[in-house]
C-alpha cells in the first residue's frame, strides 16, 4: 500500500514573526524555515506504518517555490522513499492546495494520504478535509492513533472533550494531531544522503488545475496588546486585587 504525505514549508515555530512595514505579508527573508510540525508528525506516522508492514512505499509532496525542496530533503532524511515538488509561484490557499494535491493523488494513486491537521503559519486547518471531499473519500481529522486492518483504517480522533474512533474505507485522508507520533531525530549522515536523492519536479501549471487564490488578504497587523499588569508581593495581595476586580 502506498502512502502520500503532504508537507508544507513554514516559518520555524521558534521564530517570532514580524510583519513587513506595509502590512502585506510576514517577513520571511533570512528567517529560519522548517517543516510544518504537524506534517512532520504525519511523516513519522507513515514511517511507522511502513515499519509495521502496512505501508510499502511513502511519497512526500510539497507545493511551492524551489526553496521548498529543503522540507522534502528533511522528509527523505527521515526515511520516506520518494519526494515530489509541485513547483508553484505566488500565494497558495487551502482550496488551491487541495486541488493540486488531488492532481498528485491522481498520478500516484496512494491508498492513504497523510498531512498535518493545520499549518502553523496560516492556522487554517482545511486542506485535508478539502482534499478528502474532492477525492470523494473518508477523512480522519485530528488523528492520534492509526491502525490499518482489513481494508479499513481505524482512526482515533481528538475531539472536544475526549476522543472518537472512526473506521474509514480505503483510500482515505488522515490529518495528524500532536499525539499521533513523535517525529524521529534526523541524523546528520541521513541528511547528507538525502541531499543526493533525486526530487521529482512537476510544474503546477502543467496539472490543469485552477489554484488561484480566492480570498483577498487586505492587511496584516499585530493583535491588540494588553495593558501592562502589575506584580503582587504576596498571595494576600493577589486575593485583594482579585476581589477588587470582582472576579472571585
Amino acid at each position: 500500500m502506498k502512502a502520500l504525505v503532504a508537507v508544507k514549508r513554514v516559518v520555524d515555530h521558534n521564530v517570532h514573526v514580524h510583519i513587513k512595514p506595509d502590512g502585506s505579508a510576514v517577513e520571511t527573508a533570512g528567517v529560519k524555515m522548517s517543516v510544518n510540525p504537524f506534517d512532520e508528525i504525519a511523516i513519522e506516522a507513515a514511517l511507522r506504518l511502513k515499519e509495521s508492514g502496512a505501508v510499502s512505499e511513502i511519497v512526500a509532496v510539497t507545493l511551492g517555490e524551489a526553496a521548498s525542496q529543503d522540507v522534502l530533503r528533511h522528509a527523505l532524511a527521515m526515511g520516506v522513499d520518494r519526494a515530489v515538488l509541485v513547483e508553484a509561484h505566488g500565494e497558495l490557499q487551502p482550496l488551491g492546495v487541495a486541488k493540486l494535491l488531488q492532481a498528485v493523488v491522481a498520478r500516484e494513486a496512494p491508498q492513504l494520504v497523510l498531512l498535518g491537521k493545520q499549518a502553523i503559519d496560516d492556522d487554517a486547518g482545511q486542506v485535508g478535509q478539502m482534499l478528502a471531499a474532492r477525492l470523494g473519500v473518508g477523512q480522519g481529522t485530528f488523528a492520534s492513533v492509526l491502525t490499518v486492518e482489513g481494508g479499513e483504517v481505524r482512526v482515533v480522533r481528538e475531539v472536544d472533550g475526549g476522543t472518537e474512533t472512526v473506521a474509514l474505507k480505503l483510500p482515505a485522508v488522515i490529518t495528524a494531531d500532536l499525539r499521533l507520533a513523535e517525529p524521529r531525530f534526523v541524523k546528520l549522515p541521513n541528511l547528507m544522503m538525502a541531499k543526493k536523492k533525486p526530487i521529482d519536479t512537476i510544474a503546477a501549471d502543467s496539472l490543469g488545475v485552477d489554484y488561484a487564490p480566492r480570498l483577498k488578504q487586505l492587511k496584516l497587523a499585530e493583535p491588540p496588546q494588553r495593558a501592562p499588569g502589575v506584580k503582587v508581593g504576596s498571595v494576600a495581595e493577589l486575593v485583594q486585587k482579585l476581589r477588587e476586580a470582582k472576579v472571585v
Binding site: Q139, F142, L168, L178, R179, P223, K231
Partner: protein, 309 residues
C-alpha cells in the same frame, strides 16, 4: 438571503459556542436558520427554537446521525448552502471537520476562526499562533466561515423559531463511527468556563492534586499546557492554545506556565489573567494583569485557602 448556522449540541441542549455563533451572525442583519443534525433531536430542537434571533430550526434527524460524521454533515450543508448567503459555525472540532469539506464540495474558499466580522464579506482572523491578525476579504458567492466563539456575545433566549424537519440523506458509507470516549467531569466545559485554572509541566504528577481544589473553590475548569499534556500529567482535551482549546474566561490563572506564544494564542483574550511562576522573566508575565513570583506548590494551596475565607 439568510444565514445558516451549523449547530452543535449534546443531545439535550445547544452548545454555548453555537449560541455565540448566532451572536456572530447578527453582523449580517439577515434571518438566521439553525441546522440541527442528530438522532432523537426533539428536545434540543425545542431548545434551539428559543434562541433569540433564530428564524427557523432545520432538523435533520436519523439514527445514523446519532454520531454525525463529517462526510454526512458536509453533504447536508452542501445541499442546503445554495439557498444561503452565509454558512457558519463555531470553530469546534466538529465544525472544523465538516465545514472545509462542505466548502470543497461547493468549490468555495472558507475563512477559519474569524475573531471579527468587519463587513459582510470581510473578516479578521488570527495566524501564526495569534501573533498576526489578518484582514481577509471573501468574494465567494457563499460565505463559509467558522468563528472563534469566545470573540462574540452569545445570543440570549426568548426566540420562537419554527422547526422544520428535513429528510436525512443516506449515510456516505465512506466512514463508520466506532466509539467514543468523552471525559466526564463535574467541572464546567473548558471552552465556555467563567474561570480557568491552567497548569504547566512543572506540576508533574501533582497536577490534579494541586490545581483541583482551586478549580473546585472557584467553580472553574482545568486547562493545561502542551508540555503538561505531552508529559502525561494532564489529559489532551484540556490543552489550551494554538492547537488546543481557545478560552477567554473572566479569570485565567496560569500556574507554572512559561507563556510560549502557542499557549498565549489560546488564552490571552481572557478578561483577567493571573500568573504564578518562579521565574520573574517568564513570558507569561507580559500578558498577566497580576503576576506573582512564587513557587506554585506553596502559592496555589495558599490561594485556595485564602479564597475559602
Amino acid at each position: 438571503m439568510s444565514v445558516l448556522i451549523l449547530a452543535e449540541h449534546d443531545g439535550r441542549q445547544l452548545k454555548q459556542a453555537t449560541r455565540q455563533a448566532v451572536g456572530a451572525a447578527q453582523a449580517w442583519g439577515a434571518p438566521v436558520d439553525l441546522l440541527l443534525l442528530g438522532s432523537d433531536t426533539a428536545t434540543v430542537a425545542a431548545d434551539a427554537a428559543t434562541v433569540a434571533g433564530v428564524a427557523r430550526v432545520l432538523r435533520v434527524d436519523a439514527p445514523h446521525l446519532a454520531h454525525p460524521l463529517a462526510e454526512d454533515v458536509a453533504n447536508v450543508i452542501a445541499n442546503l448552502a445554495r439557498d444561503y448567503k452565509v454558512v457558519l459555525a463555531a470553530h469546534t472540532a466538529f465544525a472544523k471537520s465538516a465545514l472545509p469539506r462542505a466548502a470543497a464540495l461547493l468549490d468555495v474558499a472558507m475563512v477559519a476562526d474569524a475573531v471579527a466580522i468587519t463587513a459582510p464579506n470581510t473578516y479578521v482572523r488570527p495566524m501564526y499562533a495569534g501573533n498576526v491578525h489578518a484582514t481577509v476579504q471573501n468574494d465567494e458567492p457563499i460565505q463559509l466561515l467558522t468563528v472563534r466563539a469566545t470573540a462574540f456575545a452569545a445570543a440570549g433566549s426568548g426566540g420562537a423559531a419554527t422547526v422544520t424537519t428535513l429528510a436525512a440523506p443516506a449515510p456516505s458509507e465512506l466512514a463508520r463511527w466506532v466509539d467514543e470516549s468523552r471525559s466526564v467531569s463535574d467541572r464546567p466545559e473548558l471552552a465556555s468556563a467563567r474561570v480557568v485554572i491552567s497548569g504547566g509541566r512543572s506540576l508533574g504528577e501533582r497536577f490534579e492534586a494541586v490545581l483541583g481544589p482551586l478549580a473546585q473553590q472557584l467553580g472553574g475548569a482545568l486547562g493545561a499546557t502542551r508540555a503538561a499534556v505531552d508529559a502525561g500529567f494532564a489529559p489532551n482535551d484540556i490543552q489550551v492554545g494554538q492547537t488546543g482549546t481557545v478560552v477567554a474566561p473572566e479569570l485565567y490563572i496560569a500556574a507554572g506556565v512559561s507563556g510560549a506564544a502557542q499557549h498565549l494564542a489560546g488564552m490571552k483574550d481572557s478578561k483577567v489573567i493571573v500568573a504564578i511562576n518562579l521565574d520573574p522573566d517568564a513570558a507569561i508575565f507580559q500578558v498577566a494583569d497580576y503576576g506573582l513570583v512564587a513557587d506554585l506548590f506553596e502559592a496555589v494551596p495558599q490561594l485556595t485557602a485564602a479564597l475559602k475565607n
